[in-house]
């Protein structure tokens, strides 16, 4: 079943991300490290949506959906994040691992989403931007 969380565009609301994820995977056997990684990735996506997408405009909301599909041991967690912003091209972002960027205090969000999930996709849609994160609950055997 798909669960939905709608947040006002205020970074105070990032605290609701982890409990939402807990609810989605409740009763399932998710690898602890994978869970930790997807929590971080999801906070990156929601933070980007609030700060860069909706420009912290509290009249605008961020919609997060989550579900688990498939059967044990191949269950996959799918989470989407939608904002009302103008979107962006993730392929034009500076490489945060380049020596000249290592000391920058920002610019790692998309990199972390891609690194911490099996799949991180970014689409510019009619109403804004949609980020989709997918990750297996367990390592592939």
């Amino acid at each position: 079943m798909v669960k939905t969380l709608i947040l006002q565009s205020n970074t105070k609301n990032l605290r609701y991300v982890e409990p939402f994820l807990t609810e989605i995977v409740r009763g399932r056997n998710m690898d602890e490290t994978r869970y930790h990684n997807v929590v971080i990735a999801l906070t990156e996506g929601v933070n980007n949506a609030i700060v860069h997408g909706n420009k912290r405009d509290e009249a605008k909301s961020v919609t997060i959906t989550g579900e688990v599909i498939g059967e044990t041991p191949d269950e996959i967690l799918i989470v989407t994040i939608e904002d009302s912003g103008g979107g962006f091209n993730p392929d034009t972002l500076p490489d945060p691992l380049a020596p000249e960027n290592l000391l920058r205090d920002g610019g790692r969000g998309v990199f972390l989403m891609r690194s911490l999930c099996d799949v991180a996709e970014f689409e510019n849609i009619e109403t804004g931007c949609r980020t989709t994160l997918k990750t297996r609950l367990q390592e592939k055997s």
Binding site: L14, R15, E18, T33, H36, T43, L103, D105, G106
Partner: protein
């Protein structure tokens, strides 16, 4: 100050203990303010205890990097990260920030190195 941040002085070293999630909310803003306060000191020596941190994302990484720049580079002090859990350490490894920060297994080791 956020209840997720406690600060104590151990000799010449300021120990900042963090707990819970540092993911870009008020707690991360409070940490940024704490480092700004410390940047007023000459040669600040700071040990950050991350043992009780459950999640740390790129916004919090940015605050730590800014602290490194302002306290270590500009004020000739030192910022050490201590007692980092395996999951949190992974964030520093994949972002190559292990090349930037001094890391210590214990607070005591950071204090010894800094003193």
């Amino acid at each position: 100050m956020s209840e997720q941040i406690s600060v104590e002085q151990q000799g010449s070293v300021t120990v900042i203990r963090l707990s819970g999630q540092f993911i870009g909310g008020d707690e991360t803003d409070a940490l940024r303010e704490e480092f700004k306060r410390l940047a007023l000191v000459e040669k600040p020596l700071v040990a950050v205890d991350l043992h009780e941190v459950s999640y740390l994302n790129s916004t919090a990484l940015g605050v730590l990097i800014s602290a490194h720049a302002s306290l270590s580079k500009q004020k000739h002090g030192r910022v050490g990260l201590c007692k980092i859990s395996k999951n949190i350490e992974n964030i520093f490894v994949i972002t190559k920030l292990t090349l930037v920060f001094e890391m210590f297994p214990t607070i005591e080791e950071a204090i010894t190195q800094f003193s």
